[in-house]
Symmetry: C2
Subunit: 333 residues, 2 copies
C-alpha cells in the first residue's frame, strides 16, 4: 500500500448513513471528499450547508468538503473510500467505476449483499476490484444515523482482518459520541447486518398485528439463534453472537422507531400489500432484498430458518402474512 | 408424592402476576384456591368480580375461586402451590406457615431472592421446608402480567429437574395465548430473573438521561454477557443465554413500558433521589433488593460485573448516577 493510512477520505453516497458518517469523519479529519450521484443535490447542499434530503438538522462546514458527482474522479482523488450506498443501488454505482481500486483502502458501511450475485460487499471488492483483504474494512453495530445526528453516545464495530490497519482506521471514527469495538469477523458481521434487517421486518409485521412486548422478546431470541446458526454454517469461526455488532444491531433495528425495515414490516402487519408498503416507504427497506439473497444462499447450506422462510413466503410467494406469522409462532420457543 | 398432580391448585399472592396466573390457571382448571393476605381485598374481589388493586380489567367467575386469607388453611386445602408474592415480602408470608409443605408441589413464580439469606426461592423451599427438588418448579420467561390480561400471545418457560412432573404441570399453563418451553436449569432461571431486574433499572437510568436506542442496544448486549458470566460461575451447566427465559426476559423488562424496574431507573435517571423514586413507585422495584443480594453473593464468586457494581454504588453508596453511568460507558463494547 503506497499511501499513508487513512490518507484522504471519501464518503461514497448521499443517504442518511453516508451523511452521519461524513459528520463523524469531519469530527476527526480536516477535510473530506464526498461523492453524490446527483449534481443538483450537491448544489443544494452547498447552498443550504446541509444534506437537502437526509439528516437535515446536521449542518456542515462546506469549505471542508470537496464534492464529486463523478465517481471516478472521487476515487482518483482519495485514498480511503467509505461506501455507504443502499445495497440495492450498489452495483449501479460500481458499474461506472473504471478507476482501479486495488491501491485504495475500502470501508464498507453497506448493510446488505450485492443483489443477484448474492455476494458480500467486501468479497465483491476483493474479487472484482482486487482490493487486498487487509485493505478492506467494515463498519457494523447498532448505529442509527438519526442518533449520530443528535450526537447520542453510540458504538460501532470495525471489522478488518488486519489488526494494524483496523487500529489506524479507528482513529477516524472515534470521538466523544462514538466508541469503537474491534473484530476480525468481517464475513460474520456482514451477514449479521443483512439478517438483522430481515428479522426487523418480521418484528414489524408482528407489531403491526398487535402482538405485544412479551412476544417481541421471544421473537428476538429466536431470531438471534437463527442468525447464529446461519452464520456459523456459512462462516464457522469463534464468535459471540451476543456481541453488540450482532445482537445489538438486531435489537436496535427491531425495537427502534427509526428502523425503516421495521416500519416496512409494520405496514404489512397492518394490512398493506407488500407493493403498497414499498411505494409508501420513502427509503429502501433493505431487508426486502436481503430476504431473497439469504434464501438463495441457504439453498446450499440448508440451515433451519423458519423466520427467514416465513418472510420469504410473505414477500415473494404472496402467502398471507396473518396465517404465515401465526404458523411461525408454533416454531418459536 | 401421594396426590395426583396437579391436584388442587392454589395461587399464593394478590399482586398483578398472581392475578395473571390465576387467569391462566382458570383457563385450564375448573376451580382454584387463592390466598391473599388481606380479608378486605378478598371481600372487594368477591363483590366486584375482579382484583380491586391489579389487572382490574380481568373479570373472574368468583364461583370457581375459593379465597383464603389464612395461609395455612390455603396450603392445607391445596396440592400445588403457586407462589407469586414479591420477593421482598416472601419471608413475611412464609413465617406464618406451620403447615408442612413437603408433600406439596411448589411452583415459584417469584422473580427474586430471599432477602438477607440471599437464597434462591426454590432452595428455600427445599432446605427449610423439605420439599423434594423434583416437586419444585419455576415459571420464567418474558411475561408481563399486563399482556396476559389482554391475552396477547406469550411464552413462559417451566423449569423443573423432573421432566415428568414438568410435563404434567405444563398442562396447567398452556392455552391459546400462552405457550410453554421447558428447562432443567432451575437455578440459572432464578438468577436470570433477579439479574434482569437489576439491568432493567440501569437501562431505565440511561433512558432517563436521554441516552438513545443505539446505546440501549449496546447496553443490553453487555448486560446479557455479564448475566451469562455470573450464572456460569454460580451454576456451571450447559445453557444458551439467548433462550427466551434468559435473554427474552431481560429484553421485555428493559424495553417494555410495563416494567416497574425500568420506570424506577428512569426516575433516577431524570434526577429523582433513590428514596423519592421508591416512594413514588406504587409497586416494588424488585431489582433494588436484587442488586444487594447479587452484590453480596458475588463477593464469593468475584465475577467481573461492572454494570451490577455501578448500580450498587448508585443505590447503596449514594454515588452520583450521572458520573457512575457515564464511567460505565467506558467499560462497554
Amino acid at each position: 500500500m503506497p499511501m499513508e493510512l487513512p490518507g484522504k477520505i471519501a464518503i461514497m453516497g448521499g443517504g442518511s448513513w453516508a451523511t452521519a458518517l461524513a459528520k463523524i469523519v469531519l469530527s476527526t479529519q480536516d477535510s473530506i471528499n464526498w461523492y453524490m450521484r446527483k449534481p443538483e443535490t450537491i448544489e443544494e447542499f452547498k447552498q443550504w450547508k446541509h444534506n437537502p434530503n437526509y439528516l437535515i438538522s446536521v449542518r456542515f462546514d462546506t469549505e471542508r468538503i470537496t464534492f464529486f458527482s463523478d465517481i471516478n474522479e472521487a476515487i482518483e482523488q482519495s485514498d480511503t473510500l467509505i461506501f455507504a450506498t443502499p445495497s440495492p443501488f450498489f452495483k449501479q454505482h460500481l458499474e461506472k467505476v473504471h478507476t482501479p481500486l486495488k491501491d485504495k483502502f475500502v470501508i464498507s458501511a453497506i448493510k446488505g449483499l450485492v443483489p443477484e450475485d448474492n455476494m458480500l460487499i467486501t468479497d465483491y471488492f476483493a474479487e472484482r476490484y482486487e482490493v487486498p483483504q487487509k485493505n478492506i474494512a467494515i463498519i457494523g453495530g447498532p448505529c442509527h444515523a438519526e442518533e449520530i445526528a443528535f450526537e447520542r453516545l453510540s458504538y460501532i464495530t470495525l471489522g478488518c482482518v488486519s489488526n494494524e490497519n483496523r487500529e489506524i482506521i479507528s482513529n477516524v471514527f472515534r470521538n466523544q459520541y462514538l466508541k469503537n469495538s474491534y473484530s476480525n469477523d468481517v464475513t460474520g458481521i456482514e451477514y449479521a447486518a443483512v439478517l438483522k434487517n430481515v428479522y426487523s421486518i418480521v418484528a414489524g409485521i408482528y407489531h403491526g398485528m398487535k402482538y405485544g412486548d412479551n412476544f417481541q422478546a421471544v421473537f428476538i431470541c429466536n431470531a438471534i439463534e437463527e442468525m447464529r446458526n446461519f452464520i456459523s454454517a456459512v462462516h464457522p469461526v469463534e464468535r459471540d453472537i451476543t456481541d453488540s455488532v450482532y445482537l445489538g444491531d438486531l435489537l436496535v433495528t427491531s425495537y427502534s422507531r427509526f428502523s425503516r425495515n421495521r416500519i416496512f414490516g409494520t405496514m404489512i402487519g397492518k394490512g398493506y400489500s407488500v407493493k403498497t408498503a414499498q411505494i409508501e416507504m420513502e427509503m429502501i427497506a433493505e431487508g426486502y432484498y436481503g430476504t431473497k439473497c439469504i434464501h438463495e444462499i441457504n439453498e446450499k447450506y440448508k440451515v433451519e430458518m423458519p423466520i427467514l422462510n416465513a418472510l420469504y413466503e410473505i414477500l415473494y410467494e404472496r402467502k398471507s402474512p396473518f396465517t404465515t406469522v401465526r404458523n411461525l409462532t408454533e416454531k418459536l420457543k
